[in-house]
Symmetry: C2
Subunit: 280 residues, 2 copies
Amino acid sequence: MRIINHICDMQRWSEAQRVAGKKIAFVPTMGYLHEGHLSLVLKGKKQGDVVVVSIFVNPMQFNQQSDFDKYPRKDEQDRRMLEEVGTDVLFYPTAPEIYPEGFQTAVEVSKVADPLCGAFRPEHFRGVATVVAKLFNIVKPHVAVFGQKDFQQCVVIQQMVKDLNFDLEILPMPTIRESDGLAMSSRNARLSPAERHTSLSIARALNHAQEMVTEGERRAEIILKTVQEILTREGGVRVEYASLCHPETLEEVTQLSGPTLLAIAAWVGEVRLIDNRVLQ
Amino acid sequence: MRIINHICDMQRWSEAQRVAGKKIAFVPTMGYLHEGHLSLVLKGKKQGDVVVVSIFVNPMQFNQQSDFDKYPRKDEQDRRMLEEVGTDVLFYPTAPEIYPEGFQTAVEVSKVADPLCGAFRPEHFRGVATVVAKLFNIVKPHVAVFGQKDFQQCVVIQQMVKDLNFDLEILPMPTIRESDGLAMSSRNARLSPAERHTSLSIARALNHAQEMVTEGERRAEIILKTVQEILTREGGVRVEYASLCHPETLEEVTQLSGPTLLAIAAWVGEVRLIDNRVLQ
């Protein structure tokens, strides 16, 4: 596995691949990798001739300095894991390489970035869209793979790609879960054993909502009331939002007709967790 | 000359050129072409193996609907002119092709877009940066040629290219002038003969400022006072701004030391004209 730190080297490598007719798959990450990330890399390997993974904890998408500071990092292990799954290139830039002095440009997606996480983390998706636009111009992929655990992020990126005419395909991939149902996330590492147990209520709430829909419930209000109840029943969970919305426009729905996104963000102790399920 | 109307066709053409090792030069325009534009196309022909010109009057960069409506258009003549100078491809999309329903993304450059025209045309450079980002992703040029008559636009685009890591080179080219000194502009067509004469005071003011600097004047205030005087002496000119600033940061200067941009925007009748000169 080749490690590339500089933007110009990455661009040169990618351009050479493209001119040679190779298809580049790209998986952008913030490191502290888990099986969820690796599933994206493996998908990338299937889709492309070469696969590039980036690790960059993007300061621009954190609205709290403390969350950025606490974001877990374990570079050595990340590298081993990426090597094991056959990553061709790890793009691993420094923050000043990505945001040099005088940096002053932002990519802003409006509507789909406004609700859900966008309502609670102002500027978050502005940071995400900007860094992903940069990474696309640096890595020049034909296809980029994103995890649907960050469902809204996928929607925002897809909107940006469409609106700014990036000539590439976005592949959203299903969330990978622990055996007990908890969605894999780098942030899980910050949960105490008790919190780890408490956080299971999120997956439980998602599953129960699906059961309600299967049994015929269509009223958003009723489903969300039950979801809130499951989340808060045992204590220790502070719900930031639980929302039912259209999976493409992310507009809230009051009555379910067709696939509907149930998205949840909740604090367990000091850790903010998100999860979602498209109810069928 | 090939005319391409659709984004996907343009991307496919450009990708094929790149894979074939051809260097693509690109000149984005809003049509109603004059010698200034043609000088950019000729520069593009020198710099690239193939040259693409786009004609698109971008609604997003007009802050007044009336200015957009009045923007002159003459498609047939534009085509003939482009053909004559050896343009390879004219990219000529419709507005709904560029801004389909649901479009909601913008590229925003902050600091360098704030003064000068940015202060008087809110959202203008947001529209410029967004459409140029789109065009870069559609045309995929190795080099893009811009005229320095729109000096601030060049600076904004260069900042965007740097910040978003577009892997291409921006070539700013000198302003082309009529024999009497008036900077060529599509908007000149809207001047009456009397206004056409009046508008010469702009070039006169720029030249006089250079003379003052050559003779040793370094105080911005003194130079600008004379510039205002020349502009308004004969009546018929309403100065929007006359500003001395750093040619890279566009920050105002009070004392000249090194090359300094003198930028002027002025209304002659119903027509807004801009011009500039880097004082040496």
